[in-house]
């Protein structure tokens, strides 16, 4: 049984209009996507800003109202619990946020920040709690002396590590990581990515890794979901997507990754120009008349692409 199964998820945001502010239309932020995450797997969700990738992440943790579809966690539909007690789900699914400056309460000490999920779900004595927090901080490479400090005393990378310690406090099974390293410098980014991998091995965690950086995704993820206009254009493993991309949008995305080798820059440019031209020529064949992405079709066991 998969850990998480998302079926035909739809999240529409209403557009209000008229004097009575009635809903006149919808923005289809997520328009019918399905995917599964197995225990211990890292699934990458890639797309441009506005493609709906963060909305998927939010709806999985229950922060967005669904228009349609279902989300099954361990085979149980969590959407019917909205507003009710979902404690096993709440414990099992945690989130790591992009902005490390706004996601930690500046007025609370690290001890309180990391202990908050423990206080919500476990009854620990003060000493036990402190011991647990120190353990959690040690996992992300921070010493116990840091527990009494405030977030502003830390650098961006350290803050993200506090965010990770907090997310793993309840031993979750799934972590939604929404652009966890986009705001970080290269060397710090490497550090945080390494920690995410180590914690994954230690706790057999699954990640839904949301990112626009295809370099990071290639390093982190087993299975990739490429998103465009609220739908998936292509899904597959690393090899399917990076070596054998079929959808014109995926090809354009991959051509846009800058190459860290200066000898390749002219080649890369020619490739980009060619793919760009291809995109203009073939646009009509890859999208329906109203610009919608087609339904996914299976090419192999792992590889799916949205073509008519």
């Amino acid at each position: 049984m998969p850990l998480l199964e998302v079926k035909d998820l739809k999240v529409y945001f209403p557009i209000k209009g008229g004097i009575l502010a009635r809903t006149v239309d919808h923005v289809k932020a997520v328009d019918g996507v399905s995917f599964i995450i197995e225990p211990g797997q890292t699934v990458g969700l890639i797309g441009e800003s506005g493609s709906g990738k963060s909305t998927i992440g939010k709806s999985v943790v229950g922060l967005a109202k669904l228009y349609g579809g279902s989300i099954l966690y361990n085979g149980e539909d969590i959407t019917k619990y909205i507003g009710k007690n979902r404690s096993s789900y709440r414990r099992g699914v945690q989130m790591i946020f992009q902005d490390v400056y706004s996601s930690l309460d500046p007025k609370r000490r690290v001890l309180d920040l990391v202990a908050e999920p423990l206080r919500n779900f476990e009854k620990l004595t003060r000493a036990e709690e402190r011991k647990k927090v120190d353990e959690l901080l040690a996992i992300v490479g921070l010493g116990p002396e840091n527990a009494m400090k405030y977030p502003h005393e830390f650098s961006g990378g350290q803050r993200q590590r506090i965010g990770i310690a907090r997310a793993v406090a309840l031993r979750p099974k799934l972590i939604i990581a929404d652009e966890p390293v986009s705001a970080l410098d290269l060397s710090v980014q490497a550090q945080v990515l390494n920690y995410l991998k180590i914690i994954q091995q230690e706790f057999r965690l699954a990640y839904l890794f949301i990112s626009h950086d295809l370099g990071v995704v290639r390093f982190m993820c087993d299975h990739l979901l490429i998103m465009h206009r609220g739908r998936f254009v292509e899904t597959g493993n690393r090899q399917d997507v990076y070596e054998d991309a079929r959808h014109i949008y995926t090809r354009q995305l991959i051509a846009a990754i800058p190459d860290p080798d200066p000898d390749m820059k002219d080649e890369k440019r020619t490739l980009r120009d060619r793919v760009g031209k291809e995109y203009d020529d073939l646009k009509d064949k890859h999208y329906s008349e109203d610009g919608r992405v087609f339904d996914l079709k299976k090419l192999s066991d792992t590889h799916c692409v949205a073509l008519p």
């Binding site: 060397s187 390494n194 920690y195 990071v216 995305l253 846009a256 860290p260």
Partner: protein, 338 residues
């Protein structure tokens, strides 16, 4: 002026923290040639933006002290009066900022913002200004330039705003363009478009571009020459090809190694540099500034007073510690976590 368009000599830019001044740029000397893309790369806090802003003296004077000299066409920009400098700003040296939404005026139409420089620096008539602006909007690849001319920044997408910024920087045909993280706020596909555009425009206009970035892949795509900055100093300077194929300084090599795009497989871990960039007021001011981050290199491998050494034509490296630096010396896997 020995063929250089811009010569920075021993630049020290210091910020005041609690009454004392601390140098964010600490003794940087650079020569920018005409018609080249010169990249300055480093992580946040290394002083690269402080350096870029010093060139046009855009720092707040109250908190900042800029010393040294910056020669542009035979004049020292740092000794010019403000009104003299205003003739250079925007006219001979253009600037592209990172975040187009905060850099553009939200209350002015795009066309008017581009024309502003022309009104100040040229005696074009209104019709000539409009013509030049439309021509420029076209050449920066703006879709529907006629419409955009009369639109406000909030009506444009991020990529289009960045194109408008580029148009503003280029409108007076400057001989130097400073681009401070021009694509950092953009999506990958838009980033690729903007980089291609900048490169094409640079080839057409033959102006020198100073590209400030933290992204080594962007450097590889764009630059002819590269300076790597760490803790206010340039630690390595070389041609782009030389730097990527034959990096010497431990910092440069570590940065290249920690880039997930270059280690393509998902196996193993990324290289991590031990410790962190020290705060400005706690920066060691003597000896090799990178030494605390490579503690396994013995002290006597560093120079007491680091100097630049030429390792190949045009390739300079600060301090002698690079001769002793090998990744294999790192202590086991625990180091990957430092």
């Amino acid at each position: 002026m020995s063929g250089n368009i811009l010569e920075i000599k021993n630049l020290v830019t210091s910020f005041r923290i609690r009454g004392d001044y601390y140098a964010a740029v600490d003794g940087v000397s650079l020569e920018i040639k005409p018609n080249e893309v010169f990249a300055i790369v480093g992580e946040s806090g290394c002083g690269k933006s402080a350096l870029a802003l010093s060139i046009l003296r855009l720092h707040k004077g109250f908190y900042t002290k800029v010393e040294g000299s910056i020669f542009f066409k035979g004049r020292d920009l740092l000794s010019l009066r403000d009104d003299e400098l205003n003739d250079v700003r925007g006219k001979e040296i253009g600037m592209i900022f990172q975040d187009p939404l905060t850099a553009l005026n939200p209350l002015m139409k795009i066309g008017a913002q581009i024309e502003e420089s022309l009104t100040i620096h040229t005696d074009y008539t209104a019709a000539q200004r409009a013509e030049r602006t439309l021509e420029l909007l076209n050449s920066v690849g703006m879709p529907r330039p006629g419409l955009v001319y009369g639109q406000y920044p909030h009506e444009l997408s991020g990529g289009m705003r960045q194109r408008a910024m580029i148009a503003i920087a280029l409108v007076c045909k400057p001989s130097v363009v400073i681009a401070d993280e021009p694509t950092t706020a953009l999506d990958v596909t838009i980033q690729a478009q903007i980089l291609d555009l900048l490169r094409d425009l640079q080839r057409q206009t033959q102006s020198a571009v100073i590209l400030i970035t933290h992204d080594l892949s962007v450097v590889a795509e764009m630059a002819h020459r590269v300076a790597v900055m760490y803790a206010g100093q340039i630690v390595e300077l070389a041609d782009a090809r030389e730097l990527f194929h034959n990096p010497k300084h431990p910092y440069t090599r570590s940065l290249l190694e920690s880039n997930p795009s270059s280690s393509s497989s998902g196996e193993g871990f990324l290289h991590v540099i031990e410790g962190m960039v020290p705060n400005l007021d706690r920066l060691p001011r003597s000896g090799c500034r990178f030494s605390p981050r490579i503690p396994w290199i013995p002290d006597d491998a560093h120079e007491a007073d680091p100097t630049y050494r030429t390792v190949a034509p045009g390739h300079l490296v600060l301090c002698s510690c690079h001769e002793h630096f090998r990744f294999s010396d790192e202590r086991g896997t625990s180091h990957a976590l430092a």
